[in-house]
């Protein structure tokens, strides 16, 4: 069923005729595609394209290389690096990998291979991670600002298992807010995305109140700092296990009178969750009944923990909380997009997607509703969506890059997840990179 189809016999809910979005979607999408490097509708930016294609065709090699990237920071010496790489390649059911073991198995080759492999991983990481800390990342961030691209910074780190580690993360967040503020050239430019799971070691799926109480003082403090420096604080969403705690804590803190006039803040809605429409009900209900100087920002994403959710549900015997059909998920993304745009200006909408169809759909619907840049922005992941970002910006729409910051060790989990996404067979980026026709990419899900 197309997202704008109606149940036969039912009157349209408004006096207007149903919008025909398909034409404007095609126009906007074709225009965006034309602004990206040819022949691919979306490039994978600076990630080696041939590498991406090779990995997509060779799942065993892909698995071997990902396992190597994953373990790389834990390797202590060149011999250790080469040993791991060699072991992964030997085990891979892949001709390319077998050929490579002829080199990785040579004792004399250890050092040069280790150096090259480590450099390769580092280069890959640098495409996604813009600096070790805020100061290190500032040149890249201010460059984006100068080009009219907004940013949100995400601090990568190890899992938080103790109160000390939660404090460290909070301090890094605070330092980042202040460092960015000192470089900002206009109000509202500083934007930080934070993870509740890093603000407390107490998140427990069966006891959300523990995580809420654990993270509350730290998130509260960050909200105060954000307010003080005029920054936007965005609370990221994570696995489904933690959604209840993250949502309750965020809405509860933002309901405090102290934060009614700032800072600007937001949360995330994950369209791959089957109950995301009900989650949106909750968010909108709260936003409508909680007047704030800055509209509440809701970032709509597909969701980044799909494999985790599906595997966990299978092992526990649960119905997966996520859509297992990609088209269903895409249709839900569009339905949520419309509801969010209809809810402006009470909320501000961020469409975070690299999917050309999803982006074009949001743009077309916003145009039809007369919703502009002050209520709607697009978000892309730095390193993955750079071409998309440039194309959106060129059409005069507001775009924001999600910029991870952190050291290589901390960034590895993020890097692995991004790489897996980028080379997965059902990934939009992969389809685009492999040269799928633009019209096909723009078809209604």
């Amino acid at each position: 069923m197309a997202p704008n189809a109606r149940i036969p016999g039912m009157a349209a809910p408004t006096q207007e005729r149903p919008l025909d979005l398909e034409r404007p979607i095609r126009e906007i999408g074709t225009d965006l595609a034309a602004r990206m490097p040819r022949p691919r509708a979306v490039s994978t930016a600076r990630v080696e394209r041939r590498m991406t294609e090779l990995l997509m065709k060779d799942p065993a090699l892909r698995a071997a290389l990902f396992r190597f990237v994953d373990v790389r920071p834990a390797c202590s010496s060149p011999a250790d690096v080469t040993r791991h790489l060699h072991e992964f390649l030997v085990d891979a059911e892949s001709k390319t990998a077998r050929r490579a073991t002829g080199i990785t198995g040579r004792p004399l080759a250890q050092r040069p291979i280790a150096v090259a492999a480590a450099a390769g991983v580092k280069r890959m990481a640098q495409q996604f991670i813009i600096g070790e800390d805020a100061r290190d990342a500032l040149p890249e961030i201010t460059k984006l600002w100068r080009n009219g691209v907004e940013t949100t910074v995400d601090l990568l780190g190890e899992a938080t298992v103790s109160e000390t580690e939660a404090d460290t993360y909070m301090r890094r967040c605070e330092e980042t807010l202040r460092a960015l503020a000192s470089a900002a050239t206009k109000p509202g430019q500083v934007n930080l995305s934070v993870k509740v799971s890093a603000l407390t070691p107490l998140l427990r799926p069966t006891a959300p109140e523990r995580g809420i109480e654990g993270a509350r003082p730290r998130l509260e403090r960050l909200l105060r700092v954000a307010k003080e420096v005029g920054a936007h604080l965005h609370v990221d969403m994570e696995s489904f296990d933690t959604r209840e705690a993250i949502t309750a804590l965020t809405l509860d803190l933002l309901s405090k009178p102290e934060f009614a006039d700032g800072p600007s803040a937001g949360i995330v809605l994950q369209a791959y969750l089957v109950d995301s429409p009900e989650h949106l009900d909750e968010l909108l209900h709260w936003a409508q009944s909680t007047p704030r100087t800055h509209p509440f920002v809701i970032r709509l994403v597909k969701g980044a923990y799909w494999d985790h959710e599906v595997v966990q549900a299978a092992q526990m015997g649960w119905a997966p909380p996520v859509f297992t059909d990609r088209h269903e998920c895409d249709r839900n993304f569009e339905a949520l997009t419309k509801r969010l745009i209809d809810a402006t200006p009470t909320v501000k909408v961020a469409i975070a997607s690299h999917n050309l169809r999803s982006i074009s759909h949001a743009a077309a619907y916003a145009d039809a509703r007369g919703v502009g840049n002050e209520d709607l922005e697009f978000q892309i992941l730095r390193g993955l969506g750079d071409d998309t970002q440039a194309a959106i910006a060129a059409t005069g729409r507001q775009v924001r890059a999600y910029c991870p910051v952190g050291d290589l060790v901390a960034g590895m989990a993020y890097l692995v997840r991004r790489l897996l996404e980028n080379t997965a067979n059902d990934s939009f980026l992969a389809a685009a990179a492999s040269g799928t026709d633009t019209a096909e990419l723009l078809e209604a899900p």
Binding site: S76, H84, D91, V161, S162, P201, P205, T206, R210, D241
Partner: protein, 515 residues
């Protein structure tokens, strides 16, 4: 009846409404306490000297008043079971399997209530208590299906003029001595394996958890297992000893301590006048389980994996980790992170969803574990409280290898960290131990994983995850050395322990012709 086995889904306790339903079930159970657990011998409901099981989180709450069996009751129960054996063993396997599957259905329909009972009577936190109910259901379904497979016999070599067949027959009356730590699952597993293969059973549950055992027995009776074929004898040492010594018992299935297990083996293998068979003992006797952490391990996974393995259910699982053997290269960092993480563990009542570490089972356990904790200086220690049988989760580091904290099974929330020079060094330490139940390895090197998998003596090795939580049909459970006599509960070979094989060969040649 299902033909492919699937594990019973766990309750999705991460959803608020499911948690509410659980709490309502607990309130409903509390209103009925104390429960009454008489002896069930044949068709008789028998009373005796009353003893209580209490809530370890709040010992003033009596969960059940149980009636203790004496040696005389054991004698009566075995007499009834011998009658039951005649009836039950003659039922077709399909009928027996169907009864077990119906019992699984009954447990399924009482899902929340039984989890609540395990919370109260055994002090199991909700997720663990629910896992216990689900595992009980799994055992019933899994053994029911496996019995059908076994019933088909095994193919043999055939020759012209000769017809060979082999089938499996029940061994005879089976005595089951069950532990309190999986009061539903292990009782259900040991009983149902015997029943599935056509044996009558006399069950002696743990003193601390008679009401859980009664729930299992009730379900089996209601599902059509004759009362003569399944007796329940609550009580302490006396009925256990009498059960093991009785010459009419053919198989003894036991889960518990090494000392008790070795005693059982000795008694069971002493012939009694009039005894005409060798008793078989199936024993699962605990462990001293180690997790090896290699230099290339992902410490973000290691910390929660160690915490869950060592402190989940206060370490009261045979599979729990009590030693971490950590590569020198990551020892300092991991030790610091673990010590920091230890203080995030909340010690509290099992019924509280926010609890990480519940109380231990009784005052004897509490004092025994405290004795270990007092025998050395801890590296870090969590909270404790005094309104139940609580013990603080405790970390030790750098103890000499011969220290009792490193050598003996503590069965409590105690983890000792040891620094090793290499994975091989860690393997040597594991190999030097007397137990061989579970073990863990955190490593990202395929060759290291292969090497440890081949080298380890343990029955269940877990790689890059916690070492507890074996699932029926997925992680057949059991170990060697002093950890047990070897059979894998929840695995495809387990039922072979409960049967004898009969081979029949018929000459089909008549007057020189094959007929």
């Amino acid at each position: 009846m299902n033909t492919t086995f699937r594990n019973e889904p766990l309750l999705e306790l991460r959803r608020g409404p499911v948690r509410n339903e659980a709490l309502q079930a607990l309130a409903a159970l509390d209103a009925r306490l104390p429960l009454e657990v008489p002896m069930l011998i044949g068709d008789d409901v028998v009373t005796g000297q009353v003893f209580a099981s209490v809530d370890p989180s709040n010992p003033t709450t009596v969960v059940a008043n149980a009636h203790a069996a004496t040696a005389a009751h054991v004698h009566d129960a075995i007499t009834a079971a011998e009658r039951g054996q005649q009836v039950w063993s003659k039922r077709p396997t399909t009928e027996r399997a169907a009864a077990l599957s119906r019992a699984a259905g009954i447990l399924r329909s009482r899902r929340f209530e039984l989890a609540a009972l395990a919370v109260r009577e055994a002090g199991k936190p909700w997720a663990e208590a629910d896992g216990d109910v689900a595992e009980a259901i799994d055992f019933l379904e899994y053994y029911a299906q496996n019995a059908l497979v076994l019933d088909a016999g095994r193919p043999l070599v055939q020759m012209p003029g000769e017809r060979n067949s082999m089938r499996y027959v029940p061994r005879g009356v089976t005595g089951v001595i069950a532990p309190w730590n999986f009061p539903l699952a292990i009782a259900a597993g040991m009983v149902s394996a015997a029943l599935a293969t056509g044996n009558a059973v006399v069950l002696k549950p743990a003193e601390q958890a008679p009401a859980c055992a009664k729930a299992v027995v009730d379900a089996l009776h209601a599902a059509g297992v004759p009362h003569d074929a399944l007796a329940l004898l609550p009580g302490g040492d006396e009925p256990g000893k009498a059960l093991v010594a009785d010459p009419r018992i053919h198989t003894i299935v036991f889960t518990g301590s090494v000392a008790a297990g070795l005693n059982i083996l000795q008694t069971a293998h002493t012939m009694v006048p009039g005894q005409r068979h060798v008793k078989k003992v199936i024993a699962e006797m605990g462990g001293k389980n180690a997790i090896i952490v290699d230099s290339d391990a992902d410490l973000d996974d290691v910390v929660p994996g160690l915490l869950k393995s060592a402190f989940g259910f206060a370490g009261q699982k045979c599979s729990a980790a009590s030693r971490a053997l950590i590569h020198r290269a990551v020892a300092d960092e991991l030790t610091e992170r673990l010590a920091g993480a230890l203080s995030t563990l909340r010690v509290g009542p099992a019924a509280d969803f926010g609890t990480d570490v519940p109380p231990v089972i009784d005052i004897a356990a509490q004092q025994r574990i405290e004795g270990y904790i007092d025998s050395a200086a801890p590296l870090a220690q969590g909270d404790t409280r005094d309104d139940g049988f609580y013990v603080p989760p405790t970390l030790f580091a750098g103890l000499p290898t011969d220290h009792k904290i490193i050598q003996e099974e503590i069965f409590g929330p105690v983890l000792s960290l040891e620094t090793v020079d290499s994975v091989e060094h860690a393997c040597e330490l594991v190999d030097a131990g007397g137990f061989a139940l579970t073990g863990g390895l955190f490593s990202r090197s395929p060759r290291t994983i292969e090497h440890v998998s081949e080298r380890t003596p343990v029955g269940n090795l877990y790689i890059n995850r916690e070492i507890t939580g074996a699932m029926v049909g997925r992680q057949p459970f059991g170990g060697g050395r002093l950890s047990g006599t070897g059979p894998k509960a929840g695995g495809p070979d387990y039922l072979l322990q409960f049967v004898e094989a009969r081979a029949v060969t018929e000459n089909t040649v008549r007057h020189g012709l094959v007929v």
